[in-house]
Symmetry: C3
Subunit: 483 residues, 3 copies
C-alpha cells in the first residue's frame, strides 16, 4: 500500500519534471486551451443532440424523405450519419476486444466460459436495448431521474420523414442513433464479466448482466445523456468514463464482494499470481479496444464535424500512448518488472481516463490525464489485491478507478466544468450502480447461488459447465485434461 | 432427427410466445413495416445501380473529371463512393474471419493448410474477378442467363469522365464498383474450404475453388445483380443470402458428397465429435465476420443513403444477436449443453439469414428471422451428421441452409415479394451451383483425385503436405509430432 | 544464391507468359495507362497538400470556424477530413498486425518481449511525433535537408479558424493531418523490432527505436513529403515504399549487422530453420496489415476524391493478391514447398511494392509489381540467409528490398517519373537511414551493449527479462519451462 502511494508520488514528480522540461510551452497550452475549447465546443456542435429538444422554429421540415434527399442539407446529413454508423461498427469490435482480453488474461480452462458469457451479454444487450433500454435512456421529457418512452426503438412508421431527417436530430436517423447507443449498452456488463470470471455460475451472470444492461445502465445514462438531473446540474461526461466504464467497474466490484476471490488467490496473507494463459490473445484485444475507442470517443461527437472529431482522435491517441508509458514506468518502479500485461492495461487506463473529457481538454492535458491513469491503474490493481478483492483482469481498476479519475479530471483540466459537480455526478452514478448491483446480485446469491462448487472451479468451467475445451486437440498432447 | 424437429417445433412455440408477450405491438410493426418499406425502398435508392441502364436524359454528363469535381453533385458522390470503399475494406476483413473460424473450429494439425487455402482463394478470387468475373457478373445487356462484357475491369481510359462520375453509376466510380464486388467474389469458395477441410488434396481445392469463383459464382450472380432473368422475374436477394452464402454452402455440399467424411467421424453408427483446436481463435473470426457484415449488408445499399444504411445496420445487428440467443436456447434444449461454438455459429446463422432482406423487413421481423436461423443451424448441423455428411465447421448449415431460409424469409416477412418467386430463384441458383460443383469436382475426382491418403489425413495436412506446423515451438513441448 | 536467381528468372518468364496470354490487351492497358494517369493524377488532386504553400489568392478565408461551418465548402471538407481520420484508425490497426506477425513468426519464449517492444514503440512514436517529429517532417519553409518548426503539433489557439479550415490545408484540420502522420511514424521502428527480435537487450531497442522515430524518420520524410530537396528533384514515393518501409528495413539491416544472428541459426555452414510458434496468430497480423493498408495507401491520397481513393484501393488489392500468388509459386519452384508463412509474406511484399506508386501505375502494372515483389521476397529471404544475416521475420526483405523495388518500379511503370531520380531518392533515404542506424546502434553497442547473454537468449526473453510467460497456464502442461 505504502509502495503504491510512493509510486504514485514518484509519478507525480515525473509529471512535474515533464512540465518543467516542456516549460512555459506546456503551461501556455493548458491555459490557452481553455479559451480554445470555448470556441471548439460551441453548444450546437457537441451537445448531445438527441437529448436536446428540437428547435421547431429553425429545424427544417420535409414532407417526405424524398424531398429531404433533394434538399441542400442532405449531403451534410449523409456524412454525419455515415460517421455515426462507422463509429457504431468500431464500438462493436470493442466487444471482441473485451472477450479476448478477458480470455487471454485468465486461465485456459475457463476460456469457453468467457466467450459464452461475452456472446450472451452482447446479444442480450442489443436485444434488450431495442426492447426497453433505448427508451429508458432517452425517454424524452421526463422527471430527470427515471422515464420510459415506451417499448421498442420508437420509430413511427407514419412519420418516416420525421424519423429519418434532421427533424429527428440534426445529424442522424433514428436507426443510427439507436445502433450507436446499442453498441455501448452491453459494455458495462462485459466489464463485470471480467471481474467475476473463473468462479461465477453462468445463470447468475446471465440474469445479473441482463438486468444491468436492460435497466441500471440506461437509468443512470438518462440522468446525463437523456437530459436528466445531472445534465441540468452541469455534469460532464463526454463519452462515458463514468456512465459506461465506472458503471461497469463498480457493478463488478459489488459482484466481487459478494462472490469472493478465486480459490488459491489469497493464501496465508500472500497474493498468488494466477497468470493469464494467452498474452498474444489479450494483446489482440487491447489493440482492438484502442481501435474501437476512436469510434467510441470520436462517434460521441455525434457528428462528423472536422474540428471536433479530429481533436477527439488526437486526445484519445495521446492519452492511450501516455497511459502505456506511465504503466511501464510505474510497474518498473513499483515491482521492478518489465510487465507486458500491465503495459497493456496502461493503454486501457489512458483510454478510460480520456473518455470523459476528450473534447474539452487540451492535448497536453490529455497526455497528463493518460500518464496519471497509467500509473493509477498499477497502484490500484496492487491496492485491490491488498484488500483481497480478486479482479482477475484488473477491470475494477481499469474501468472503475480510472473512469472516476477521468471524470474528475474534466473538473481539473477544463475551466468550463466544476470539480465539485463532477464529483457529485460521479458519486451519484457509481452509488446507484453499486447499490443496484449489490441488491440484485445479493438476491441472486441468496436464492439460486452465484458461485460454482470448488470442484468445478478447480476443474475449470469449460469442462464442468460447458463440456467444451478451448484448446482440446493440440496434436496428441491432451492439454485441457482435468488433472 | 426427431429430436431436431422437436427442437425446431419448441423454438417455433418460443417465437409464438415472444409474439404473444410483445403482443399487438409486434403485429402492428410487422404489418406497418410493409408500408414503411414501400417508402424506404423506393427504386432509385436500393436497386442495384450498376445493372440499371443509365438514363441518358437525366444523368449529368461532364466533359472532364475536373469539371465534375467542381460541380454541386460532387460532395454527395464523394460520400457514397467513400462508403462503398469502406464497406469493401470491411468485407475484406471477413476473409480473415473465415480463415480463423475454419482454423479454430478444426484440428491444429491442419491449420497451416487452412490458411494456405484461404490465402490462395482470396488472392485468386480478386485476380480472376479482375480478369473475367466482374464482366461475367455485370455483362451489360445480355440474354439474362450468360453474358460476358470482355476481359478486364472494363475501364475505358479514353472516357475517364464517364467511368469516374455519375455517368457510370450514380454513386461510385468503376473502381469502387469493382473492388466492392471483388471482395464478395472469393467468399463462396472460402465457404467450400470450410466444408472440405482436413482431407482434401490441395491442388483439387485450388482448381475447383478457382473455377467456382471465376465462373460459377459470377454466372448465377448475373442472373439477379447483373440484371438477368431472376431480376426480371422479381426475385429479391439484397446482399446475397442465396447468391453468396447458399452458393458457397451448396457447392460445399456437392464436394463433401464426393469427398466423404473425415476418418473416424462416423464409426459403427456413432457420430464422433472432432473438436476444434482453438475456440478463442474461432471467436476472433466470428466477431470479425459480424463486423465485416455491416459492410457486406450496409455496403449493398450501394449508396450512403442515411435511412437505407442505418436501417440495414439495425436489422443486421438484431438478427445476429437473435441468432446467438436462439442457438444457445436450441442447443440447451436439444443437447442439454451450454455450447460456445454453437452460440458462435448462431451469430453467423442470424447474419446469413438477414442478408437477403436486410433492407425490406422490419426490425421485429429481423429478430424473428435471426431467431429461426439460430435454431435452424443447430438442427441442421445435427441432421447432416445423421446423414453422415461431414461438414467440419458447419458451413453447409450456416451458409447453405440458413442462406435458403433468409431468401425465403423475404417472401414471408415482406409484402412486396412473392414467396414462390423467392423459392424459384433460390432453387435455380442452388441447382446450378450444385450441378456445376458436382460435375467439376467429380471430374477432378476421377482424374487427379480429390482425397489425401489415410496416412496424410492421420498425420495432418500441415506436416505431410506443407512441411509446416501451425504451432511448432511451444517451448520444449513438441506439440505437433506425428504420433 | 544461384537457385534464387534461377527462380527470379523463372518468375520473369512467368510474367512474360502472363503478358503473352493477356496479349495486346495488356500492352495497350500499360501504354494507355500512362496517359490516363496524367488525367487521373492532376496536381491539385494528388500532390501532398500539407507541403504545398497555401495559395493566398484562392484559398478561402474564414473569420471563424462557425462561419466556415455555414459555408458551401464545409460538406466536402467534412468528407475529406473524415476519410483521413478513418484511414488513421486503419493505419493504427497495422500496429496490431506488426505485433502479431512478429510474435507469431518467432518463438513462444520471446512473445511477451515482442509485445512489450511493440507497445513501447507505438506509444513512444505517437508521443515523440507530437513533441518533435511532426514539425521536423513538416517544418514549413526550410533548406530542404533539415528544418524544425518548433515543439508540439503547431496548433495556434489564437488562429483556430486558420488551423481547422481549408486555410490550413484544403482537405483536413491540423489535428487530422497530425494523427494520420503520427500513425505512420512508429512503423519504421516496428519493422526494426522484427529484425532484431529474440536476442536484443530491451533498453537498447527502446533507445534506438525512440531516436529513429523521433529524428531519423521525420528527417528523411521531410526531404520529400515536407517539400525538401527530393520533392524538388521530382522523386516520387506515394505512401512510403521507401520513406516508411525501406527506412524500417535498412535500419533493421544496420542493427542486425551489429547484433549478429540468433544462437543456432547458422551452424557449420548450415542454415537452421527456427520456426514461428503460432502461424494462425501471424495470419491474423498479415490480414490486419492488408486491411490497414487500404488506409495507409488510400489515406495517402490526402482527400476522399472518389477517383483517386478507389483507384488506389484497386491497385493495393491487386498487388497484394499478386504478391501472394507469386510467393506461392516461387516457394514451390525454389524449395518445392507449399509454404504458408511465405505466402503470407508474399502478401506483404506486394503491399510494400505497390505503396510507392499506387496512384500512378495502371492496375495491370500493379499486378506485375506485386508478382515481382512476391517472387523477390522469397529470393531475398534465401539470399540473406546465405549471407548469414539473421532476420527472424523476413522484415529486411519484405520492407527493405521490396520497398526499394516498389520505389524503382514507379520509374519503370509510370511514364511521368524518371528511373534515375527514383534511384537517387531511394539511395539517399536508405543511405542516411543506414548510416544513422549504424552509428547510433553502434554507439549503444559499445557503451551499454545491445545483446542479451547466451543464457537469457536460450531461456527466452520472456522469462529472463520480463518474468512473464506468453502462455503460462495451458492446463497442467507447463509449456514455457526453461528447459
Amino acid at each position: 500500500m505504502l509502495k503504491c502511494l510512493k509510486t504514485l508520488f514518484a509519478f507525480a514528480l515525473l509529471v512535474l519534471a515533464a512540465q518543467f522540461v516542456t516549460g512555459q510551452e506546456t503551461e501556455i497550452l493548458v491555459t490557452q486551451s481553455a479559451s480554445v475549447q470555448v470556441e471548439l465546443v460551441s453548444d450546437e456542435i457537441y451537445d448531445e443532440p438527441e437529448a436536446a429538444p428540437i428547435d421547431e422554429a429553425t429545424a427544417p421540415v420535409y414532407s417526405s424523405y424524398e424531398e429531404f434527399q433533394a434538399s441542400p442539407g442532405y449531403a451534410k446529413f449523409m456524412i454525419d450519419n455515415l460517421w455515426i454508423l462507422m463509429a457504431a461498427a468500431m464500438v462493436f469490435i470493442m466487444h471482441l476486444g473485451f472477450a479476448t482480453v478477458e480470455s487471454g488474461f485468465t486461465q485456459a480452462k475457463n476460456s469457453v466460459n468467457v466467450i459464452y458469457k461475452n456472446v450472451f451479454i452482447l446479444a442480450t444487450g442489443i436485444i434488450t436495448y431495442a426492447v426497453v433500454g433505448f427508451q429508458i435512456m432517452y425517454p424524452g421529457d421526463f422527471n430527470g431521474f427515471f422515464g420510459f418512452g415506451g417499448f421498442g426503438i420508437g420509430f413511427d412508421p407514419a412519420d418516416s420523414a420525421g424519423m429519418l431527417t434532421p427533424a429527428y436530430v440534426e445529424e442522424m436517423t433514428i436507426w443510427s442513433d439507436f445502433i450507436f447507443q446499442a453498441m455501448f449498452a452491453a459494455t458495462a456488463a462485459t466489464i463485470v464479466s471480467g471481474c467475476v470470471t473463473g468462479r461465477i455460475k453462468l445463470p447468475a451472470f446471465m440474469i445479473f448482466g441482463a438486468l444491468l444492461v436492460a435497466f441500471s445502465y440506461p437509468i443512470t445514462g438518462s440522468w446525463l445523456w437523456g437530459g436528466g438531473w445531472l445534465d441540468q446540474l452541469g455534469f460532464y461526461d463526454f463519452a462515458g468514463s463514468t456512465l459506461v466504464h465506472a458503471v461497469g467497474g463498480f457493478a463488478g466490484l459489488a459482484c466481487v464482494l459478494l462472490l469472493g476471490a478465486r480459490a488459491g488467490k489469497y493464501e496465508n496473507g500472500k497474493v498468488n499470481t494466477i497468470p493469464g494463459h494467452n498474452i498474444p490473445l489479450a494483446t489482440v484485444g487491447i489493440f482492438l479496444l484502442w481501435f474501437g475507442w476512436f469510434g467510441f470517443n470520436g462517434g460521441s461527437v455525434l457528428s462528423a464535424d472536422p474540428a471536433g472529431v479530429s481533436f477527439v482522435f488526437v486526445n484519445t491517441a495521446l492519452a492511450a500512448a501516455a497511459g502505456a508509458l506511465a504503466a511501464m514506468i510505474a510497474t518498473n518502479l513499483l515491482m521492478h518488472k518489465l510487465d507486458a500485461p500491465m503495459a497493456l492495461n496502461g493503454i486501457l487506463a489512458g483510454l478510460v481516463g480520456i473518455t470523459a473529457g476528450a473534447d474539452v481538454v487540451s492535448p497536453t492535458s490529455a497526455v497528463l490525464i493518460g500518464l496519471f491513469a497509467g500509473a493509477l491503474v498499477v497502484a490500484s490493481i496492487a491496492a485491490f489485491d491488498k484488500l483481497r478483492v480478486d479482479d482477475p483482469v484488473g477491470a475494477i481498476s481499469v474501468h472503475g478507478i480510472c473512469g472516476v479519475w477521468g471524470t474528475l479530471a474534466v473538473g481539473i483540466f477544463s475551466a468550463e466544468y466544476s470539480f465539485l459537480t463532477q464529483l457529485i455526478g460521479t458519486a451519484a452514478v457509481i452509488g446507484f450502480t453499486f447499490a443496484f448491483s449489490f441488491i440484485v446480485f445479493g438476491a441472486i446469491k441468496y436464492t439460486m447461488g452465484v458461485r460454482v462448487s470448488a470442484e468445478v472451479e478447480l476443474g475449470g468451467l469449460d469442462l464442468e459447465e460447458h463440456g467444451n475445451n478451448a484448446y482440446p486437440s493440440f496434436a496428441g498432447v491432451e492439454l485441457l485434461s482435468k488433472a
